[in-house]
Every structure is written in C-alpha cells, then in structure tokens.
C-alpha cells in the first residue's frame, strides 16, 4: 500500500509540493533581494546619500526566482529523477530505427519550412518589413549553419580540433572580393574558385600539422587564423589593410537579372515592382540555403563512402586506422581541404552579401563561435549543429529585440551587452546537462538485416 502511493507520487506531478517550494524560495529571495536590490543609495546634488526605494524591482526578481523554483520542482526535477530510474540499456534495433525515422521526418518538415520561410515572412510583414527577418535571421543563421557544417567535417568527423577555421572563411571572402573587383568575374564563376583556393590553404595548413593532435593542433590552427588576419591587415597593397575592400559586386541572378539599382536589367524594374532591397535579400537567402544544403548533402554522402568512414575511424583511433591500411596523411588532408572548401564558399557568399570585407570580420571570436556551434550541436551531428547555429546566432539577434526589458530594469539597460554573459551561462548549462551536445547520438551509416525479416533472429540467439 505504502509502495503504491510512492510510485503514484513518482509518476504524477506533485503540484502542491512544487507550489510550496516556489513560495518559500520566493520569500527567501525577497528577504535577500529586498535589502540588496530594493534599496539603493545615490548621491544627490548636495553630496548627500539618499536611499532610493526599488522594492518593486526586488519583488519582480523574487517572483521570477519563485516561479523558476516552481517550474524546477514541478517539471524538471521529476524528469531528471525519472531519467535516473530508466534503465540505460543499449538501444535496440527497433529503437534505433524509430529514432532514424523521427529524424528523417523532422528533417523533411524543417526543409519545407526553410524553403517557404521567406514567402511566409513576406506575407506576414510585407516586402519592406521582411528584410530584417530574412537577412538578419535567415541569411545570418544559414551562414553559420554552413560554417558549422563545414567545420563539422574537420572537428566532428575527423576529430581534428581546428580553432582557425575563420581563416578559410577569410580566404573565400577575399578571393571573391579581389577577383571580382580586379577581373570583373561573376559570383558564379568565382564561387568554385574561392572554394578551391580555400581548400588549397587548407592543405597548406594541413601539411605542417599532420603530426599534431588535440591541444597542439588547436594552438597551431589558432595561430594560422591569426596569421591570415594579420597578413590581411598589413599587406595593404594586396588587401587594402584594415580599411578593407568596399563596393564588392553583388550576386547576379545568373547574369539575367541584376540587383544593382542603376543596372538596366534590375530585377525590380524588370518585373515592375517597387524598388526594394528585400528581393535581393530573399535571393541571397535561397543561395545560402542551397549552399548549406549542398554542404549537408555532400557530408552525408561522404560519411557513407570509405573516406568519410576513414575520417570517423581516424577520430576514434589513429593507430588502429594505420594498421587497417588507411593512409592517415591523405585522410587528414582531405578533411582539412574539404572543410576549408565549404568555409571558402561561405566566405565568398559573405563578401557578396556584405559588399564590404575587412579583417575585422575574421577575428578569433568568429572561429570560437563556429567551434562553439559544432561542440554545442554535438560533434558529428548535422541536425545538432543546425540547431546550435539557430540558438547561438538567432539567440544573439533576439537579444536585440528585448527592448521591453527596459521597462523593468530602467532605460540604461541594454540586453545586447549581456549577450556573452547569457551565452556563457547557456553553454555551461548545456555542457552540464548534455555534455556531448544537443544531439549526441552518432547515427550509424550502415545496418545489417535492415529490411529483412531476420530481426527476430537477433533477439533469439542469446548464446554465443
């Protein structure tokens, strides 16, 4: 009888206790915050200290704390307890397949959403109002999704910690800018060239660091990123120094329509639409979407090929790889080169989109953000990396929208300034709860007996 009550308690949510918890914690928080936050001393004109009453703010904060505690006790703690009880038996074949199906379903829904997103936004906010949502959110996030997927090949699959990935992004951006301005070549010609140049630099970086692993590799790649940036700053004749390169040509719609306002074949004019930069942004959105999907497609294909398998094996055990006849030198170099190539693609897209590049865009912070996306997403997981890019970059953009918080914290409050703090906290939180990233499970690329009815066979033969 007693045990029956106990199991009941564990299964359901005990709102009463959670409410009690919440109220008590709220009161304690108010007792603490009351004097700490609620009372503020300030100097007035005649140099006297005046106590300012901010008990309202203290009360709001206490309520937030109390509600937080309520949510924790009501939903999160029981869940954690339940997870502890669940046996951590190895996933069965059926479970793996169900999971694979779910991921597939989610990917299809996600893809459809990505393709209709600009149309959805235009219908919601109008042509002019769509710019912010398509450009700041859509394009910006997709650039980082693509960079994350590119770096995922190097870090996630091949297990080579590369902290200088932004260097290849820079190579791509400067390749496009310089070749487009000096040789008047189109984006569509220069995109593959930029990718090749970046891949070339990937190999250049790869050669000297072939013997390095882990921390040592990370430091050398970090230095490489800085070297590229410093060369761009100091070699003024080549790159324009820290002033950068401006008026980089826009992408054309395969030479048929242009997005230059002055051009005779301007897209808006040709279709008798009101002049707006929104069309260009939507066009850019689809380009980067296609580029990102190309990255994903190639990565998924490569994972099924011997080279992709070799990357993953290399991440797991280099000695074993060599004893199985894998040329580790070539395997590492291809990982660097292919990862760098996608960085180069993204870089040339970035240059075309901004119309301006300077070394300022390629600081170490960028590399760190991309690495953070890969690590948060779960190394090797495509969907995880995409989710992490949405959270990191979309989250940053969202913080700019939190103006209503000024009503609570006063006019000086700028949520944007707390962005790094919030990210730090969020990352610590994710690393505590999901230490291997959002999506930590590695999807096997091969199944035996998948479409055969033999799977019962697997369960039966319990002796060996």
């Amino acid at each position: 009888m007693n045990s029956a009550v106990k199991t009941n308690e564990r299964a359901g949510i005990d709102f009463g206790r959670a409410l009690k918890d919440g109220v008590i914690v709220g009161i304690i928080a108010f007792a603490l915050l009351g004097p700490l936050v609620g009372l503020k001393t300030e100097q007035n004109m005649s140099n006297e200290l005046i106590v300012q009453n901010r008990l309202g703010l203290a009360a709001i904060l206490s309520v937030i704390v109390g509600v937080g505690r309520f949510l924790l006790s009501a939903f999160i703690y029981p869940r954690i307890a339940a997870r502890g009880n669940r046996s951590k038996a190895a996933a069965t074949l059926a479970e793996l397949e169900a999971r694979a199906k779910l991921t597939q379903g989610l990917s299809i829904v996600g893809l459809i959403f990505l393709f209709v997103y600009p149309l959805l936004i235009i219908s919601l906010f109008g042509v002019q109002g769509s710019i912010k949502w398509v450009d700041n959110y859509g394009v910006q996030i997709l650039i980082y999704v693509m960079l994350g997927w590119g770096l995922n090949i190097v870090i996630g699959l091949a297990g080579l910690l590369d902290l200088g990935y932004v260097a290849f992004y820079a190579v791509g951006a400067y390749s496009y800018s310089l070749l487009a301005i000096n040789f008047h070549l189109s984006f569509w010609v220069l995109l593959p060239i930029a990718g090749m140049l970046a891949a070339f630099w990937g190999i250049i970086l790869g050669f000297p660091v072939l013997r390095l692993r882990g921390d040592y590799l990370a430091i050398v790649t970090l230095a490489f990123g800085e070297i590229i940036r410093l060369v761009l700053i100091n070699w003024k004749a080549f790159s324009g120094g820290s002033a950068g390169i401006s008026s980089i040509p826009k992408v054309t719609m395969f030479g048929i329509y242009s997005f230059d306002v002055s051009a005779p074949n301007n897209f808006a004019k040709a279709f008798h639409l009101a002049a707006s930069s929104a069309y260009y942004k939507v066009f850019l959105y689809y380009i980067i979407l296609m580029l990102a999907l190309l990255t994903a497609f190639i990565t998924l294909r490569l994972r099924r090929l011997p080279i992709g398998r070799a990357w993953e094996a290399l991440r797991e055990d280099e000695v074993a790889c060599r004893s199985l006849g894998i040329n580790t030198t070539n395997t590492k170099l291809t990982a660097f080169a292919i990862g760098a190539m996608f960085g180069g693609f993204a870089g040339s897209f970035f240059a075309a989109r901004q119309g301006f590049v300077s070394p300022e865009s390629f600081v170490f912070m960028e590399s760190a953000v991309i690495v953070a996306i890969v690590v948060l997403g779960g190394m090797g997981s495509m969907i995880g990396v995409a989710l992490a890019a949405v959270a990191m970059i979309g989250g940053t953009e969202l913080l700019r929208e939190l103006d209503f918080l000024k009503a609570v914290f006063g006019n000086d409050f700028n949520p944007d300034q707390y962005r790094m703090l919030i990210f730090g906290l969020a990352m610590v939180g994710i690393m505590v709860w999901k230490p291997r990233g959002f999506v930590s499970a590695r999807q096997p690329t091969a199944f035996l007996f998948k479409r055969k009815t033999v799977s019962g066979d697997l369960v039966k033969e319990g002796h060996g």
């Binding site: 993953e312 797991e316 074993a320 035996l448």
Partner: protein, 245 residues
C-alpha cells in the same frame, strides 16, 4: 607442396628498433613459415609488441631487414604494409568505440575486395556467433571478450595472408580465452592462415603454436617447437611455473 610454399612468409633479420635513443630491439631474427602458428613469448617490456609494431613499420627498424612474401617491407609506410594483407590486431584491441560492430568490420575490409564482404561477414558470424547478435551495437558497449573477437574479426576481414595478434588473451576470462584460441586454431587448420601471436599467457600460446620464440630484453634467447619450449625447464621456470595449467 611447391617450393614456394616452403619459403618463409615473413623473415626478420637483425632488426634493431629504437625509441629515441633507447634501443628496444637489439637485432632480432625470426621466421614465420606459411601455414604456421608462431608465438612470441616474453616478460613485460621484453620488446614483444615492439617487434610486432616494427613489422608493421610503426616505429620502423633502424637496422636490419624485414622481408614479407619476397618483398622488402622495412621502409614501407604502415598503411602500405597493411595493404599487403598483413592484418594486425593491435595490443589493447583498439576497436572503434563509437562505430557499430558492422561498421568496425567494414573498416577492416579493404576496398578492392568488397565483393567478398557478404561471405566474409557470414564467416565471421560462424566463427564468433556473439558478433552477430551485437551487429548493430556500438563497439564501445561490447564486453572485453567481445571487443577482442571484434578486433580479430576486423583484422580477418582484410583476408590476410598473415594475421598478427598482440595479446588477444589480455584481461579476459579463461573461458573466453579458450574460445578465442580455439577460433585461431580453427582458422589455421581450415584455411591455412599463417598466424604470428604475441602472448604473455605462455602456456596457452605454446600449446597452440607450432613454433615459439622467447624474447628477453629485446633479444631472442630461445626458439623451438611449441612442445619443446613447453617442456624446457628454463621456460617453465621463467614463464610457466605458478601460471595457468
């Protein structure tokens, strides 16, 4: 048997291997004939694993020569040696923990003879039925014995002419050790597979092997048939007394 068959498959002559300035192998001579199981026994740090790794070219022998199947492989890079059908199951098993059993086996199969994959994998299941049950499970979730079976099966997927095993009995229960040694004997008897076995478990290894070598401090001190060594008083005193009988 033709004359070819009587020639040794692997010949090591005067191999000297260094780790930095420290000499690990002080000129080692061994022969492994076709169709033989040859074992190398010795104490910890004698240089057994070093000899095996030297044959694979990692590290390379600074002096001496290693001839395999009529070809000098002393200076070849490791991956090219492996492609000559010398399969190695390294010390500590070294399977790929995050990959499934099937993917591990695929890694072992060389790309140029993928057409044998299905028959080969079926053969591995006959040899180690346990692997069949675990086929879609991650390598890292297997027990030690299963991992060892996987490591051997992965090496066999390359259809080797010479299989080199480094301490396959390490850390395994006696029953599992017996299973694995039985499998090795089976492979040798049925397919004529040549096996070079490095072992600490001298009793089992010498019982299994046709011939054996004893290594002390980077030098081969004794050699002979498995039975000779088993009955040799020096070997008994050093490696067998008080051991498993």
């Amino acid at each position: 048997m033709s004359a070819e068959d009587n020639k040794p498959l692997l010949t090591v002559r005067g191999a000297k291997t260094y780790y930095g300035n420290i000499i690990a192998l002080k000129g080692v001579d061994i022969d492994v004939n076709r169709g033989e199981i040859v074992t190398l026994i010795g104490a910890n740090g004698a240089g057994k694993s070093t000899l095996m790794m030297t044959i694979c070219g990692n590290p390379r022998a600074r002096e001496g020569s290693i001839v395999y199947d009529g070809q000098d492989i002393t200076r070849l890079p490791t991956h090219e040696i492996a492609r000559l059908r010398i399969a190695q199951s390294p010390e500590g098993r070294r399977i790929f923990p995050r990959m499934t059993v099937l993917e591990n086996l695929q890694m072992g199969a060389s790309i140029d003879n993928m057409e044998f994959f299905d028959t080969d994998i079926q053969y591995m299941f006959d040899l180690f039925p346990r692997l069949k049950e675990r086929i879609n499970q991650r390598g890292g979730t297997l027990s030690g014995g299963e991992q060892q079976m996987l490591a051997i099966a992965r090496a066999l997927m390359a259809r080797p002419k010479l299989l080199m095993l480094d301490e396959p009995s390490l850390g395994l229960a006696p029953l599992i050790v017996k299973q694995i040694f039985d499998a090795i004997r089976e492979l040798n008897r049925k397919d004529g597979l040549t096996v070079f076995l490095v072992e600490q478990n001298a009793f089992h290894a010498l019982k299994l092997a046709h011939r054996g070598y004893v290594m002390v401090n980077g030098v081969i001190t004794m050699s002979g048939s498995g039975r000779e060594l088993l009955e040799n008083p020096e070997v008994r005193a050093a490696y067998l007394e008080g051991g498993a009988h």
